[in-house]
Subunit: 362 residues, 2 copies
């Protein structure tokens, strides 16, 4: 055991153990999975300490790698964000973010209520200087060599103006460089057609602004893209407002799930098709793995002082472990600091661009 890193040498991830649909047992199973793969990772675990200690004690791989923070309260899926911000001090979610704020962890992961997690993150970690609206970025299976595209924003129920969309482009580029090792990501702006005259006014304005920043921020701007390009190979990062992004991913997920169910039905249909499904099982499992949302579980909150990852509420151990891996990768790459530097260096220029754009409108 002497060659094991000590807790201070480890990259520490702060985990809200209470928020998910399946309870803390699944979260602990997930961190155990990560710990067994990655010796460089450690945890601060937030929730009912007695329950958590019991679960952790059963996992040998977690020995000496978990610090506990006892929290009496839990944020539920029904709690309104405004309410949690006002009176959520005793919750495991609040505590998980506090570990990042205090510097004892390099990033936070929660399976809880998305709206509450974003509201608390904004209040406790604060937005990066120059960022108007933080965004949630997800990975979506695509035809690209890396197998996935980044899409943002997918989280909020509000509109984004041209300057917000520019910031999403900058943050998305930075994320894909650090999270997916793409040296020069291709950015696309989601619209209902690829012709430059199409779409809403703020999209045309954003098109011009993102174009202006491409060289300086070291990305390729491929212009407008369509819904079909979200799983396509035209762009690595798809920029859109949170409303459209949220509807798009849920439509894609729903369609994929319908096809999966119909495929299972088809294979059950006759003795011949049942035999076929046995013969094809390896190939089908490979396909399933390729588009498995659990492999890319985790929406990253961009634009905050610190890395926060929202894991799916219904995530199983594999899903939780994927979210932890993402938090670890981003922490190791110094993503949060790089993103802050990138936004700061362009914020002033973006301000100028927005001002000249708005003068242009008058």
């Amino acid at each position: 055991m002497t060659d094991q890193p000590t807790q201070t040498e480890r990259t520490v991830i702060s985990v809200d153990a209470m928020g998910g649909d399946s309870g803390p047992a699944v979260v602990v199973a997930g961190i155990a999975k990560s710990a067994s793969i990655n010796p460089k990772i450690g945890f601060v675990l937030h929730g009912h300490e007695s329950v958590l200690r019991k679960l952790v004690s059963k996992r040998r791989v977690l020995d000496g790698r978990v610090v506990f923070r006892d929290c009496p309260d839990v944020v539920t899926m029904e709690d309104k964000p405004s309410q949690v911000v006002r009176s959520g001090k005793e919750t495991s979610m609040w505590s998980a973010l506090e570990s990042v704020r205090q510097g004892e962890a390099h990033g936070a992961v929660s399976c809880g209520n998305t709206g509450a997690l974003m509201a608390l993150s904004m209040m406790r970690l604060r937005k990066l200087p120059g960022v108007n609206r933080p965004a949630i970025a997800i990975l979506w299976p695509s035809r690209n060599p890396q197998g996935f595209n980044v899409m943002l924003d997918v989280g909020a129920d509000v509109r984004a103006d041209a300057k917000d969309l520019l910031q999403y482009a900058l943050m998305g580029a930075s994320y894909s460089r650090n999270g997916m090792s793409l040296a020069r990501p291709r950015i696309g702006l989601l619209n209902v057609g690829t012709e430059e005259h199409k779409g809403r006014a703020e999209l045309k304005e954003a098109h011009a602004m993102i174009s202006d920043f491409a060289e300086q921020a070291n990305f390729d701007f491929v212009g407008f893209v369509e819904g079909s390009d979200i799983p396509g190979d035209k762009a690595d990062v798809i920029v859109t407002d949170g409303f459209t992004g949220n509807v798009a991913i849920k439509t894609g997920e729903g369609t994929a799930s319908l096809i999966g169910d119909l495929l299972r039905e088809a294979f059950k249909y006759s003795p011949l098709s049942r035999l076929a499904s046995i013969l094809a099982i390896t190939s089908l499992n490979r396909l399933k793995k390729r588009i498995d949302p659990r492999r890319v579980n985790g929406g990253v909150f961009l634009g905050l002082n610190g890395t926060v990852i929202k894991s799916h509420g219904g995530a199983d151990a594999t899903g939780v472990s994927a979210a932890i891996k993402l938090a670890f990768t981003l922490a190791e790459s110094g993503f949060s600091e790089k993103l802050a530097a990138r936004v700061a260096s362009t914020a002033a220029l973006a301000q100028d661009a927005a001002q000249s754009a708005s003068q242009f409108e008058e």
Copy 2:
């Protein structure tokens, strides 16, 4: 041949033969397919008459069932709608709509440029009294017993206000009653969450207005639905603005197409999986047919004086035939007249509702 209906007894569909990606041969193959299934259907065919006559003469089933309208000009996919409206008089698209306007056809089908078709339809056929914004409705494979949901609007690049969304709900209900024989369709309003406090201001306003009209317009309002419900079984009609709808269907199509390609790859992977694909071929073909977009080819333009169907630009003969069948079904049901009556009876009340809603805001 004496028991064949005469052309005047037939339901006549006006077809723009020139606009599609694959040219008039595919369109003529499509109408021949429809003609061989349905003895009650006749056609007015618009385009280069010499070319069309040659193609039609090769199909015995079309003998005596096609009237030709020679048009020297064609609307291309690149033409801007405004340009076509100004100088498109000699095009097959214009001519196809003219047949509906003059009453010589019961509906029009075109594979051409969507924006131009909508602009021309609005100019030549005019909006129904009381309709502010016509919408394009499509069918989407779903978990519902009927196998499909209606979604509208999917066509425009503009926002829709609460009153527009109410009209979409009314038109979508009427369409699903006449096109899909649903006596009491369930209407859902697309949002980023199902809680009533979520989403943009116009959605909350539309929620209240649609709710008020449900009883009178004979539909069930299931409230807010999410992207995952577009292929789901919670609602029969999904109401949204054209921007969000367009992005959602293209994301769904792109995801389905990616899965299809990956599935084909998986089956090619090994001798065993190749054998499996042969054994499963009947079941897989059944699945393919179930989600085949060609079976439900055709966006219906709602809110005009006359039925116009936009067939996919890349449609093959099966796709064209499906669009024609839809035009026929709607014409037979007297849909256009019923929709006009429905909108007229609710337009005045909607006006009142909008006014009281806007007073409420102040």
